[in-house]
Symmetry: D2
Subunit: 97 residues, 4 copies
């Protein structure tokens, strides 16, 4: 499955870049395919893998900000193999060119 | 934590009420505080509890529709006790009355 | 269309119930079918109607908190009439009983 | 404001890349800063600008699939200037390097 997630610390000041950086470090050390853009971090893997990473990120950010809002969007396609995250964007760009 | 989630089967026809009903049955048998409205099912519990329920729902819906889109929003407040789902709405209504 | 939306003020303290109450007041005075639960406010109407309400809510909350995170989920079904918000839940409950 | 949005046609078959491509074309012709990744399209502009683009995309996709699920996440920061979409990612990468 491919997952997009964001963690927003609430009540921890208006700039949250430091807390977000801690979470992105955990994502990059996970070994799973990942990409962080202006709004979400995308991640590809099995349910337990991606949810384990998101849980670790939430635990880390919660140290600085006890209250957090988390948004997760999952594109789940059972029976499909890996590499869909890169392939999805490539298929779109082929269609657009 | 309080969680709102929705599971949308893709490519399984335009009306998805049967698949959604299967998922809501799993939620109601979970024993966790829950409420289903027109857009999301709300659920309260620890991370492993709520994610276990959502995973079971996704597995069930995936039997009928291999591809699903899942949206999850979490209100996580570490150190807070249970009963926040009911209390949040009650606090809002007190403020509005 | 049916819309679920939430507005989270960032950097405005950990409890945001007052800001949320201001927004819910605007929703209830809109005349559109609406329902507020622990995670989202649901609203039914045409695009311009519901987006006008959400914009007014965001403007109000932004007075207290310049930075806000807004999450919107839309169930759009072109050609369908009104009353879907209530009917969706009723259809689900009939299936479950 | 910065907006991430996705439009999922329901009941229009399991592969939705053609409908998504139509929507991305509209985004790219809008003149607003934009970026499409595996899960969302990010867009920067004023409320009326970005909502106008999302509405045009939804209208286009609805021609092929009357029922659509739309997810929108907004990072709204009133009083801030333009260019935040690029700056947000750059600030994060500086912090991580």
């Amino acid at each position: 499955m491919i997952v997009a997630f964001s963690i927003t610390p609430i009540g921890a000041g208006v700039s949250v870049v430091e807390e977000v950086a801690d979470a992105v470090r955990i994502v990059r050390e996970s070994g799973l395919p990942n990409e962080t853009n202006a709004m979400f971090t995308n991640l590809e893997g099995e349910w337990d893998e991606v949810m384990g990473v998101i849980k670790a990120c939430l635990d880390k950010v919660s140290e600085a900000a006890p209250r957090c809002s988390v948004v997760i969007k999952i594109d789940s396609w059972s029976g499909r193999g890996k590499g869909r995250m890169a392939e999805k964007v490539a298929a779109l760009e082929r269609r657009l060119s």
